[in-house]
Amino acid sequence: MAEAMPLLELAGVHTHIGRYHILHGVDLAVPEGRVSVLLGRNGAGKTTSLRTIIGLWRASHGAIRFAGAEITGHATPDIARLGIAYVPENMGVFTTLTVAENFRLADWRGDPQPARLDAVMAAFPVLAQKWQARAGTLSGGQKQMLAIGRAIATEHRLLIIDEPSKGLAPVMVAQLTEALASLKRARTTILLVEQNFAMAQALGDHVAVMEDGRIVYRGEMAALAADIALQTRLLGLSLASHQ
């Protein structure tokens, strides 16, 4: 059988932010049940791509399809309700609410199911300890766990995560990688933006590399990981040296 229809597909997506033309025709396919990683230098348009998918920026041209339905230009809540969870770069934790209160807002339909919460607590035990603490008092890593935990506290078809390793200590990155790896084993569909190549390599099935608002490379993660010269050309030395 040929390639199955991807869960999420971007075709020729352009995005303008104010006067600036950020995305210049992004083509991207996120297959179901796999982890797709979006790589690229700062300012390449990775975050803008994610924000355009979830509807926080509006695509000026092109089409975005999710599960076969066109979602281009739809309002963010409507897109989210189709089953897309989004963990932004700044984590989107409500710092003035407690951890418990953050989890109460995980699902727009109502309080999340206890069984599901238990599973999240099993993955991130520290959140259970901090259950009544104000989220603003958590460490960066704990906030990231809260953000991801909140995203998986309810059923979603696609998980979009923007640079989870950003600003975290190595030990935290390892812990987070392990948590995401278990999601991967459970066949969760994930679109991950990541600058940390080791983490990207550990989790990714597919990879796409962005530059100047376009996808300049796409392929299997394993192939890119094996080709140092290609990494250097696409991502620059600094990223390759993460290995």
């Binding site: 809540p77 989107g92 699902d107």
Partner: protein
Amino acid sequence: MTPISRQSRDPLPYLVLPALMALALAAMKFSAWLTLTVAGLAVGCMLFLAAIGLTLIFGLMDVLNFAHGGFVTLGAFIAVAVLTALPIAGGGVAAALGVVALALAAAAAAGGGLGLVFERLLIRRVAGAPLRQILVTVGGGIILQQVMIVLFGAEPLALPRPEALRGGFIIAGAALERYRLMVCLLGLLVYAATHLALNRTRLGLLIRASVENREMVEALGFRAERLFRLVFAAGTALAALGGVVWALYAGMVTADLGADIIILIFIVVIIGGLGSVSGCFLAALLLGLANNYVGFLAPKLALGTDIALMLAVLLWRPRGLLPMDGA
């Protein structure tokens, strides 16, 4: 930013109120002090009722509604309409309270409904343009006031308080008015209800979350826009509620009520810290008390009390007593 209702850890602002009361006690006889204090607290509670909606709307939507006073006036006229339609000459306390409750409900409904229209026709069209948003609410306020003159006339309308709510009793040589005590009770009730709603209910959590990060609330699948509309309507409904209480206190209503009171409302929300519920309550009580004390001790200075108080607080705490970002 942080939650609308979060209490500041700093105890200093909370001490201002007792300090002011103690200072006043030192300057006058106890009976006079008690009368003035109860009256001042009542005025404060009325101010709180009139102002709380403005601070809520600002906290969530970043919209400063200069037409807020118009909704207070609307509530006052509704009170006149309801009490004129249902005269309860000589009725008991229950009947009087029933009619007042009916007026409150009618005013809240009218204020909330008109608020929705107002948001739809004026506020939403200029979303994202703060300067135009201010101008549009100023214009909307003028229209609101003028339409009320068309509907209710430009002459002051008398609003006699129901018999059962007049008079009072003497305690320790101080005259305490029944209606004032009732107003204090209502103010406390609304304060507690707002506080609980924001901190204990899922809707309240959602509102607090939206204040902090609207985008994330939407990315979680919640329709923040509807939430905003709801809060706007709640804010204008509360303003109308304040108008009823104010009208019954003054015993007379004119279309200028809102324009007169909006200055005090602004001073309350500025002193309290824009967006802060507790700050609004504290500031309203402070202003009510200060006005009454100064009016008694040095009537000539009453004119500038509000503004002097505002300047003093701003020089001390530029963002108000209990700003919502808690810092």
